[in-house]
Amino acid sequence: MLDGPRTLLTQWLLQAAARLLERHEREAVLGDLTETGASAWRGMSEVLGLVVRREIALWYDWRPWIAAFGVALPGSLLLMGVSLSVSCTFQRLTGQAVFGVCAPTGHQGVLLLTCQAFLLLIWAWTAGFFVGSVSRRTLWMSVALCLSPCLRCLSRFHDPSMSGLCLLLFLPPAILGVRYALRTMRMRSGTALALAMSATVLMIYTWGNSASWILNWALILPAWYIAIRARSAVCDAGA
């Protein structure tokens, strides 16, 4: 009596596991399993074994490591700080009281707030683009490493004057950056250079006005990597 539903369930699990493979490979592997008459459980263990091997093979490269542990994780921590800093500056400029939050807000002028906001946009977008373009197939790990400190900080953030969502201002531009990278992979050389230059100039300005942490300098690295990569792609195409 249980055989029918059990077989259906294992078949469904097998199909679900096979979805983790690329289309051509899924076709070949499921065909092989059908031809050899493998049971659904055996098939599922074979497919999962292949998926695990594929995933491990991706991590032999340096790029997923840099994307996940070099950009996504530290980037989310730094960008949460910048998001908070921008929110604090905005609240102080609009005359709202800020309790308990300690973030560098510089001299709190509108110009500085604008610079900070633009910097936040550029940093977050370029970090997202970097992660999306260099580690497309290991994106899940980068996303998990980016979100875990966010969730932890959100759960511990208790400030009556400010919503916890102020910490996550960087997420929308970062998501847009990832989406753009997944669609196009490369940026135009001029645009990439303009972004990197803008980030550097804005950083110098905000740094000079005590509105940035020293570690924020690291956030311009993805922008320069993208600019150099776009430039070298142009040179390769011309050669």
Binding site: H24, G31, D32, L33
Partner: protein, 103 residues
């Protein structure tokens, strides 16, 4: 220099000729060596060898016994033949005089 499993795979594919694909290569390796060969090991090795230019693969036509699904066909390239030959010669040379080598 090839690895042991890479050599087995190339040799099996070369022996099977136009009928070299996942299932047939796997059966050949299992029947010859008496060892289990997982699909994971098979396909990741095929990919690696293809990246090195030692194999070529393409999607063949589906058959009824496969539920209409395509086969991933495999062909050994001339570079693959040379690599297998080099491996075979090295193993033959180093095995000369070994107690288990045939006279």
């Amino acid at each position: 220099m090839l690895g042991e499993f890479e050599y087995l795979l190339i040799t099996a594919a070369a022996g099977l000729g136009a009928n070299a694909y996942g299932v047939s290569i796997r059966e050949e390796i299992e029947s010859t060596t008496g060892r289990q060969c997982s699909l994971g090991a098979l396909y990741t090795t095929i990919d690696r060898l293809e990246k090195k230019g030692l194999l070529e693969t393409w999607m063949g036509e589906g058959t009824r016994e496969r539920g209409g699904r395509s086969k991933r066909m495999v062909r050994v390239t001339p570079k693959g033949v040379r690599a297998a030959k080099t491996f075979y010669e090295a193993v033959t040379r180093i095995s000369r005089g070994a107690a288990w080598a045939g006279s």
